[in-house]
């Protein structure tokens, strides 16, 4: 369906396409003027934040076939970096941003490095463990992170001399970074680097035989994903104004993961859609919030049963369970041999 929509759109005359784009951009930019409810703006901000978060996880899980599940840990590193630098050391928010991103990428790399030569499952466990460890460190290193009390009163970022305080203002920051993330990632994916990532996902051994440096590209991919998660965390810190370790539990990681899975991994649009679906579901489930993660768990399982590639993933992709092509897959060694 997305294909026909795309085709229909690209068939339109150029002027019409520009008009549609322009109109869309104006509407998106004016949203905070129309929607003054801070409740609704809050939800929209979350959606935009999670586009970057789930999207960056998807870069790792969807494009190189590694499987990180501790994304909350990287989110936490970015968040704490900005919180600590801006409240304890009075750094300007905009300077903490790149530091948060780069630091997260470096830490992510150090953690994941031993697993790049191994099966994807090792990375899963290491990231899962890392996510818990970061939370434990945040909880126990009181001198740096405030321990169980967290860090309160994180200064608001300034933009052109204005303090950014309301959700309606943060909207623009979240929007800027979500759009930036999508544009930049789109470019990376359509380059030699993105192709190398995808080739690793499709067939690691073949990729190597063509000179694709496995460890280098897996590391680059992982650092790239962690970088954006760190940035998202950095923006989240002043927005939420208060960070403590309870924000970054494994459940938060699963929350991000479910967005990528439900939307469709291996597509740029998947996590965007996933962020909308899960965050709106989040609000609908507010009266029974205890069941929230049960519902996500069920959704994930159901998704795997009926549509493993996610809502907008292509059915003819590596991530789909393409049973009709099972014989071919076996022959290609892309799939475990049929057992029963």
């Amino acid at each position: 369906m997305t294909q026909t929509l795309k085709a229909w759109f690209s068939d339109l005359p150029k002027a019409v396409r520009i008009l549609i784009f322009g109109l869309g951009a104006v509407i998106i930019l004016l949203i905070p003027r129309f929607l003054t409810s801070s409740y609704i703006m809050g939800i929209i901000c979350r959606i935009l934040l999670y586009i970057t978060l789930a999207g960056s996880l998807n870069v790792i899980n969807g494009y190189t076939g590694q499987f990180s599940i501790g994304h909350a840990g990287f989110f936490a590193v970015g968040c704490y970096t900005t919180a600590i630098l801006s409240s304890n050391y009075a750094w300007d928010f905009w300077f903490t941003l790149p530091i948060a991103g780069i630091l997260t990428a470096i830490i992510g790399l150090l953690v994941a490095l031993p697993t790049f030569r191994m099966t994807g499952i090792y990375l899963s466990i290491v990231t899962l463990g890392f996510s818990e460890i970061i939370r434990l460190i945040a909880l126990n290193w009181t001198g740096l992170t405030g321990g169980p009390l967290g860090i309160k009163g994180i200064p608001a970022p300034q933009f052109l001399g204005m303090n950014i305080r309301r959700a309606g203002d943060y909207y623009y920051i979240f929007l800027l970074f979500a759009v930036l993330f999508l544009l930049v990632t789109n470019r990376v994916l359509k380059s030699r680097i993105g192709r190398a990532w995808i080739s690793i996902r499709e067939d690691q051994q073949a990729a190597q035989s063509l000179g694709v440096e496995l460890v280098k590209y897996k590391a680059m991919n992982f650092a790239y994903g962690a970088f954006w998660a760190g940035l998202a965390g950095a923006i989240y810190a002043p927005y939420i104004n208060y960070v403590d370790s309870n924000t970054f539990t494994l459940d938060e990681g699963f929350n991000i993961l479910s967005m990528a899975i439900i939307g469709g991994m291996g597509t740029l649009g998947g996590p965007v859609l996933g962020s909308f679906v899960v965050n709106i579901l989040n609000e609908l489930l507010r009266p029974v919030s205890a069941y929230r993660l049960v519902v996500y768990g069920l959704l994930i399982v159901v998704m795997m049963w009926i549509r493993p590639q996610g809502i907008i993933g292509a059915s003819d992709s590596m991530l789909a369970d393409d049973r009709t092509g099972a014989d071919l897959l076996e022959r290609l060694g892309l799939k475990k041999r049929r057992t029963a």
């Binding site: 990376v188 030699r192 680097i193 080739s199 190597q208 063509l210 000179g211 590596m318 071919l328 290609l332």
Partner: protein, 263 residues
């Protein structure tokens, strides 16, 4: 003629199984080098050692003056050795052209910043792989299928795409693992001419093949393996005359029978 790939006493043991046992071999520049032998003779294992998939248990391989021991497959590819796989390992969900694009990894240099900022380096890389990629496809007659998903092509076509992808590396040595497997006689004939043609264009080729006619008519040197050991290495004529080869292939009894019939 210079020596391109030299294997010295190469062995690979899996537990107690000696898959490859003390094999010596020299591939010269300009060769079409055939490796033959019965099933399980260790041919593919030998290829996998050459291309870095396995580490040899003992022995040494040098390629174009570089020792290959301990090198990773991607490093060996960068040295100029490209290969295809016995069980075809295409990126089956990518288009044919995209498959070939991956083959240009070693020839391009786009970094993260180049890709994000669309610098001149990015643009020239993209232009290069598009032009050269189309050229490679054209030379194999694959141009009409450039946008087809590789997995949707016929078996013979897939083999060709795999070769095209390997050629994109501009390899000094091309390893073909059973390129004619699953092809009919006509396709085999066509492939054979294609291999000979490639060789004339300057590619050194090593291939594993079961079809004797294919090997005898295309290769200028042949290595015969049996139970991991080298039985014979030489020109097609020498191999044809070699007693050990006949025994390995047809069995002693059969050989006697054939002699008897001839007498």
């Amino acid at each position: 003629m210079s020596q391109l790939l030299v294997a010295n006493n190469v062995s690979k043991h899996f537990g107690g199984l000696k898959a490859v046992d003390n094999v010596d071999m020299i591939i010269n520049e300009g060769d079409i080098f055939g490796i033959i032998g019965p099933n399980g003779a260790g041919k593919t294992t030998f290829f996998n050692i050459c291309s870095g998939v396995y580490k040899p248990t003992t022995g040494e391989i040098t390629f174009d003056g570089h020792s290959l021991v301990g090198q990773k497959p991607e490093q060996i590819a960068r040295l100029g050795m490209a290969r295809t796989f016995q069980n075809i390992r295409l990126f089956k969900y990518m288009s044919v052209l995209e498959n070939v694009f991956i083959g240009f990894q070693t020839k391009t240099r786009t970094g993260l910043a180049d890709a994000i900022l669309h610098t001149a380096a990015y643009k020239s890389d993209e232009q290069l792989i598009r032009e050269e990629g189309l050229k490679v496809l054209d030379s194999l007659g694959l141009l009409p299928f450039k946008d087809t998903k590789a997995g949707n092509l016929s078996y013979g076509m897939q083999r060709k795409v795999e070769i095209a992808r390997a050629l994109a590396l501009g390899p000094k040595l091309l390893l073909l693992d059973e390129p004619a497997a699953g092809m009919n006689q006509l396709e085999k004939q066509e492939l054979m001419h294609f291999v000979i043609d490639l060789n004339k264009r300057g590619y050194t080729i090593a291939l594993i093949e079961h079809d004797m006619r294919f090997v005898m008519n295309s290769c200028n040197r042949i290595l015969v393996l049996n139970f991991g050991q080298k039985i014979c290495e030489g020109t097609p004529e020498e191999v044809r005359e070699d007693k050990g080869v006949n025994e390995a292939y047809f069995g002693k009894g059969l050989l006697v029978g054939r002699k008897g019939a001839a007498a």
